[in-house]
């Protein structure tokens, strides 16, 4: 039971000063941005916006100055993130790099790759995508078949990755590959490589989703060659390194805020005299407040150097439930009565179509609950 407890995180006063600065920035940067764009939330990609954030020092906020980072606290970073997400700001281009790629490079290639790439991430000039899933390897990530063979000229990569968000806009991919045999331990023989996306032999093919939007891609590798020093960390330790990366991926406030623009439209459209509206939206407020505190608590755990894996899994599972309940609530309260072309209609349509992905991306609900069950000593 102890392992499941998340302590409340407390934001110090300097965080509120920063919050005011971010709100001022957003009031200007997001003025007039229509719901059609805001509703994409952190899936929305805008390199110019990313560069503006970089100029304010809001990418790589907690990273060491030796890499160009700003050495601010995790809680300050948390405040910037939650303000961006609540406003529906288009933070997608640099999101992966800031959340996990940079930290991974600093942790596992501090002397070789981090010095080259992290400063560029901080400046908003290097965007990353995640090369993990394959057509035959989703939740069962250890079964991947993309191979990298050590040759005289470098690592030769062959295979394919799928569901790669924004691969068509990324400068780099961090790709999980098989470099050795899978022995008795099915997690052995995996490694991570840094892959510049302009390397010859890479083909990026769009996968259009049910929103008719191009976010996902299939990426194939035909004898793609990268230098030896593009190995991140140690050969054969890819599984452990991926584990660390996934903990970062699961732990942020984006895991409950994805449906916020729809909530905002519902609040404006709601009938204060209708008890169904009043009660249902009040419940959503209670869930938002609680999830915010849970997410903040996990951020504080990260700041203290604790392992947030269990807490992050709990928060992500609970968060996805709230995100997915939102379009169904909109249907219950407003279904069939929305004004055509209205902001509410747009938010409802978008979020309804996007909702299935909330419990699939970054670890499916079933996998997360398996992790939680293990934490309960059931496995």
């Amino acid at each position: 039971m102890q392992a499941l407890r998340i302590s409340p995180g407390l934001l110090p006063p300097e965080c509120e000063t920063l919050r005011a600065q971010v709100r001022e920035f957003l009031a200007e940067a997001m003025a007039g941005v229509p719901v059609a764009r805001r509703v994409r939330n952190w899936s929305g990609s805008n390199p110019e916006f990313s560069r503006r954030m970089a100029e304010r020092g809001w990418i790589g906020m907690t990273w060491p100055k030796r890499y160009g980072g700003h050495e601010r606290s995790s809680l300050e970073r948390y405040v910037v993130l939650e303000e961006m997400l609540a406003a529906g700001a288009p933070v997608g281009a640099h999101w992966v790099a800031d959340r996990q790629s940079g930290p991974l490079l600093m942790r596992f290639s501090p002397e070789v790759l981090a010095p080259r790439l992290v400063p560029k991430i901080v400046r908003g000039e290097a965007f990353f995508c995640i090369g993990m899933s394959e057509p035959d390897s989703g939740s069962d990530l250890a079964s991947i078949r993309t191979r990298a063979v050590r040759t005289a000229d470098g690592w030769a990569i062959n295979g394919r990755k799928v569901w790669t968000s924004r691969a068509h806009q990324a400068h780099y991919m961090i790709v999980l590959v098989r470099t050795g045999e899978r022995g008795e331990n099915r997690h052995s023989g995996l490694s991570q490589l840094l892959l510049p996306m302009d390397t010859p032999g890479i083909t990026v093919r769009p996968i259009v989703n049910q929103l008719n939007q191009h976010d996902f891609n299939e990426v194939t590798f035909d004898d793609v060659l990268v230098p030896h020093d593009h190995l991140i960390g140690h050969e054969g330790e890819g599984w452990q390194q991926v584990g660390a990366e996934l903990a970062f991926e699961r732990s942020g406030p984006e895991r409950y805020l994805s449906s916020t623009q729809l909530l905002l439209e519902m609040l404006d459209a709601a009938d204060a005299g209708d008890p169904r509206h009043v009660e249902a939206l009040g419940r959503v407020v209670a869930h938002y407040a609680t999830l915010r505190q849970m997410s903040l608590g996990v951020a504080a755990m990260l700041a203290r150097g604790e392992n947030p894996m269990l807490g992050a899994a709990l928060v992500k599972d609970q968060g996805a439930l709230v995100e997915q309940a939102m379009p169904d609530l909109a249907h219950a309260l407003f279904g069939g009565t929305v004004a055509p072309g209205s902001a509410l209609e747009h938010a409802m349509h978008y979020t309804t179509l996007a909702a299935p992905s909330f419990s699939l991306r970054g670890g499916t609900r079933e996998i997360l609950r398996g992790i939680i069950a293990k934490g309960l000593d059931l496995r």
Partner: protein
């Protein structure tokens, strides 16, 4: 004594007292209508009843966060005593500058779920009306009444003009109806706090913290059972279907706990009457804990199978309390409606700033 030392002392007292002294027999006798006076005396002598009250009135001026182990323990060990009500009542009396009282205290919020009328002014206020669902009223010597005009009143329940009809909640614990007929108030005073409906709000906080204890007990019992019960050659906890349900329950329990802890830290106490985030955070906690209780009881019973449905098995002590407490001092629907009305009034523009401040004001 420092704050930290107080906290550790409280937790230790609770652990020793409840774990050692509260057993199935105690719980069953309570449901037969008996107040365990010996156990009550131990709580009084252990300083638990006055933990929140000011030092001037014999308390240790503990914060709700420091006193949280007591309330958690009432749920975790299913302790059948009017302790939460007495703690909140003692706090309110000390905040109003009134002296403490002996014996258990019942809590009443005028106008919320009752037709209580206050006639007269100044010190000569008399109460008339019917107040249902007053927890432990039959065992209480006094009631702390929060009047809609703003003052706090103290009423002696054994005095003239007060009668008690004994009723039970779904946990078979006392939840009596009090009839007032021109009953006198022995004391009246203003509260320094700006907390609206203070009895109802602090009662909701207490119930939230108690529910977290009961939720953790139910979860632990369910996990233990899943690991011990063997069917088809393996513990039933090895089945993914059960693992998924227990993981879902664990998420609800973690959320309820967080909401209740934040509410405790935002609540007013004897040293800090001004608590701008209290109403919001307590409403959030009561909603979240109520929803968690509803889902968790279902899952806990499902995992336990038939044995968990028996009187003999202890699970029902936790789940019946969860079912009772989710509707006391305002159900989750009641508090959700409060939050919803404020959120709709503020609209999209005020939502996020209000959420981050933990304050949705009626006037923006």
């Amino acid at each position: 004594m420092s704050g930290g030392e107080h906290d550790a002392l409280i937790e230790h007292s609770v652990q020793r007292l409840f774990a050692d002294q509260v057993d199935k027999g105690v719980r069953e006798r309570a449901e037969a209508g008996v107040l365990d006076h010996r156990l009550w005396r131990l709580c009084v002598d252990g300083g638990l009843t006055r933990a929140l009250a000011s030092e001037a009135t014999g308390g240790i001026a503990a914060s709700w966060s420091a006193a949280q182990p007591i309330l958690h323990g009432l749920g975790y060990w299913q302790v059948p005593l009017p302790l939460a009500e007495t703690m909140a009542g003692a706090l309110l009396l000390s905040m109003a500058g009134l002296p403490g009282v002996e014996g258990p205290i019942a809590l009443i919020e005028q106008g919320v779920g009752n037709d209580l009328q206050a006639a007269g002014a100044g010190a000569a206020v008399k109460l008339t009306g019917t107040v249902p669902h007053v927890a432990w009223a039959r065992h209480a010597d006094s009631a702390v009444v929060s009047l809609s005009e703003g003052r706090l009143a103290l009423v002696e329940l054994r005095a003239r003009g007060v009668s008690c009809a004994e009723r039970l909640d779904v946990a078979r614990l006392p939840s009596d109806t009090l009839h007032f007929d021109n009953a006198a108030c022995v004391a009246l005073a203003a509260l320094p706090a700006s907390l609206r409906q203070p009895v109802w709000t602090l009662g909701a906080l207490a119930r939230s913290l108690m529910m977290v204890g009961a939720l953790e007990s139910a979860l632990e019992q369910a996990v233990r059972y899943a690991n011990e019960r063997v069917q088809f050659g393996k513990p039933i906890g090895k089945n993914q279907a059960l693992q998924q349900q227990l993981a879902l329950m664990a998420g609800d329990v973690a959320a309820a706990r967080m909401a209740a802890l934040v509410a405790a830290s935002d609540a007013p106490d004897s040293t800090a009457a001004d608590a701008p985030a209290a109403t919001f955070s307590i409403a959030v906690a009561k909603v979240r804990c109520g929803e968690a209780a509803t889902r968790a009881c279902g899952i806990a019973h499902q995992v336990h199978g038939a044995i968990g449905f028996t009187r003999e098995h202890p699970l029902h002590f936790a789940t019946r309390r969860l079912w009772a407490w989710r509707e006391q001092f305002g159900s989750d629907a009641f508090w959700a409606a409060r939050l919803g009305a404020l959120a709709i009034a503020g609209g999209s523009r005020r939502f996020w700033p209000s959420l981050t401040r933990r304050r949705f004001d009626a006037a923006s």
